[in-house]
Subunit: 365 residues, 2 copies
């Protein structure tokens, strides 16, 4: 067989990376640390050919020195522009190219079409393309298929936890998804796992913000918008042509909190509702229950609500900022398949992106 | 890029399958049901080129009719012989060939060397090659690498649960495994989850056997040998050159049970120990604890023992025949990453084998 003739050949994955913030820089550090191991174990070599952040961009067809990328990028004379980055990547035209989008930018997500059309695979933790219009979601999928490349985004849900790949394996092998039940926000998980009555609710939220667990405006998390994007992606992976507006979000944040014009004012307003949240908590505690923000997908309908669950419920024992995802399926009908663990943070997210890259590299011929 | 020229091409995976028992026939049924879906979604086509059970074997270079394989195989004039099966597969010499071993046979596992040397990938639920000598384990791995093919065996541990792929993703991306704690036997899980004092221990085991949850000789399960093979594979995936003899199995089955010459006599002897097991159970229950057979791997040492765990332990709430695997790592240091769900049965095992096949097909160029 013809592969045997190349048996000593190293398989090179050519990486073009946009975004060198917390996730991007952590990923570069992880690649640097694992390079020798992956070469030895799998004959694969990662080369960083293009690198861009919001200020500068840089290309080196022989590879950017990964232990010196920060300085090389800083010293690049080329100002950053995502369109010329993609254009130049396509022109360099290396086989086995992968575009890694570590940004949270819609402008970058909007270039995916062009990238896939150039037969370049995409790996990204950026949720924007998958949680925008269904039309964009399905277009990307079809382009990848038509051009023989892949688009991997395991970290869109649960960071480094095996969620999307597991769901895909179930569906591809013919299992039928009956129900998905999940805690999908590390932020909300932390807040409700910590809220035990010893400290007012608004202080728990403030503490979460100070620890860097929330978005700059915590209402992004508390409004369940981020959870909505994640359950939307899972629903779409199940084959449903659903839009964000189709999700029923039973929000728990009182309207005046949402209306507050600044984050500081939001915290002032939230403090006036500390009694309201404490009452909810105590009401649950009296029944031996706990508050958990749960996303559900069943029978084509996605809902998110703040529920009170008993000790026997598997989500009651959640702690820290853990996520949990339970798949009830035709083949796991009585007791779901469950994946649990930290669902946020740069290390685990970068590791999930890295694992997607290794998956592509491993199957290069 | 050159892939673009083949954009409408279907990627064909040529399958050679040994073993058409419960797992093999379920896998063939699943492939038949999913064929159109996979063609539509991913442009991949599964062809069954060779098929063998313990009696007959059959080859058709254009593909065996998957809705009629049983009759076609039965009507084949060729008696089964694994060596001539492998020889013929190698001679047919189709690109993108995969050998699927659905047997539990050492004779089949011993052909892997020859198959990998012919640059043919292997997918198997058969644990024998991976849990035999370390020399065989590492030789298969190196042959696969040298010949540019893969050997996938997700179903060796936890059936269809994402265990080995998850562990590999962690290790490949540079995470350090601190500890693995797991209930790895669906049989022992069922027995100890069911043993609540209402029925004697020997009756619980008998019931498990009647339900088909145990090996024909339940001592294969109760001796923790099967669990030993699974924790051994996980330890090896972590990079340890460990042998089965290196595992500390703190067996819970009294010696006279192991010495009984037949299965019937074993049950008679086991019944004389019902008081012993009930005492263990009651002793645990009085402390609010439950008996669980737990496999652990930490600091290069693998141990298996029947432990008594408190309600706060994540394994206490296990039910049915569920497996649970908890990975404590450098990146999941305080709360482990956990995978839980049914770890046995033909449907979930075949689905896991199928998912491995789809993984290979998806990355064909």
């Amino acid at each position: 067989l013809h592969q045997a003739f190349f048996e000593s050949d190293t398989k090179v994955l050519n990486i073009f990376m946009a975004g060198t913030g917390l996730i991007g820089s952590t990923l570069l550090k992880q690649i640097q640390e694992q390079r020798n191991y992956l070469q030895q174990e799998y004959n694969i070599d990662f080369r960083i050919i293009g690198l861009a952040n919001s200020r500068k961009m840089l290309f080196k067809e022989n590879g950017i020195a990964i232990d010196n990328w920060r300085e090389e990028l800083e010293n690049s004379p080329t100002p950053s522009d995502i369109h010329s980055f993609v254009k130049q990547m396509n022109e360099i035209n290396l086989t086995n190219s992968v575009f890694v989008d570590n940004s949270a930018s819609a402008a970058v997500a909007n270039t995916y079409d062009e990238i896939l059309r150039a037969s370049i695979s995409i790996v990204t933790p950026n949720k924007i393309a998958n949680s925008g219009s269904y039309e964009q979601y399905i277009r990307n999928r079809r382009l990848a298929k038509r051009h023989g490349v892949v688009m991997l985004y395991e970290t869109n849900v649960g960071a480094g936890l095996p969620v999307i790949s597991t769901l895909r394996d179930l569906i591809n092998s013919g299992d039928k998804i009956i129900r998905i039940e999940a805690v999908l926000s590390g932020t909300l998980s932390y807040i409700f796992n910590t809220f035990d009555g010893s400290v007012p609710f608004s202080e728990v939220v403030k503490d979460a913000k100070q620890k860097g667990y929330t978005e700059p405006d915590p209402r992004e998390d508390l409004s369940c918008k981020d959870v909505g994007r994640k359950i939307l992606i899972l629903a779409r992976e199940c084959g449903y042509s659903m839009e964000f507006e189709d999700i029923t979000i039973n929000g728990f944040l009182p309207q005046p909190c949402l209306d507050a014009p600044t984050v500081d004012e939001f915290f002032n307003v939230l403090a006036t509702y500390d009694g309201h949240f404490e009452q909810m908590r105590r009401h649950a505690a009296e029944k031996g229950e706990k508050l958990r923000c749960i996303a559900r997908f069943e029978g084509g309908k996605a809902t998110i609500s703040l529920d009170s669950v008993g000790q026997e419920h598997p989500f009651a024992s959640l702690s820290g900022s853990d996520n949990i995802i339970a798949f009830t399926t035709a083949r796991y009908p009585e007791r779901p398949m469950v994946v649990k663990g930290s669902g946020a943070g740069a290390e685990v997210t970068a590791a999930g992106v890295f694992a997607d890259l290794i998956r592509i590299a491993n199957y290069l011929s």
